[in-house]
Symmetry: C2
Subunit: 104 residues, 2 copies
């Protein structure tokens, strides 16, 4: 699997709107065949900080994701909500192996 | 859910041993009733950097995890493998809701 953690710092007045737009994008993204997981978490200590945990089956699936309507809508919707440019870090899975990522 | 990301920097000569010990701990941890996911990923750009993505049902389940034999064995085994003290960040889930985390 090819795992991407996306770090987003949100303007405090935009937190609720960001959560709504990002949950919608996550639900749509989970329907993509190339995506095993697409989780969104909010930091306890600083609720303006979010991480998107995106688990793709292959690197090519990251490109397909960026072509979808839901991604492009999300990207445009949240652009003005971000307090700084978002950053990402790329990973490979050690555990579980490729079979252990899909949800019930 | 209560989500913890644990960041571990490993000495380069200990990467293989760390992967083995950490995969074993992850597999055991996924058997705990209080744990929905326990994923281990390795950074592409710097393979000495790892993140443990731990998804607990409640905060109390993090304490139960630390009482297990497999956690204590892992903690002791990897202590000398780490290049620096490990750090963690705590999160709550935005998406999916509490029902969407368990694996197939």
């Amino acid at each position: 699997m090819f795992v991407v953690h996306v770090f987003v710092d949100v303007k405090s007045e935009a937190v609720d709107a960001f959560k709504e737009a990002t949950a919608e994008n996550a639900a749509c993204s989970r329907q993509e065949p190339g995506i095993a997981r697409f989780d969104v978490v909010q930091e306890c200590e600083d609720p303006t900080r979010f991480v998107l945990v995106e688990v793709y089956r292959t690197r090519a699936d990251t490109l397909r994701h960026k072509e979808t309507d839901h991604y492009q809508k999300w990207r445009d919707t949240v652009e003005s909500m971000m307090a700084s440019l978002r950053r990402s870090i790329k990973f490979v899975n050690i555990s579980p192996d490729d079979n252990g990522w899909d949800s019930v």
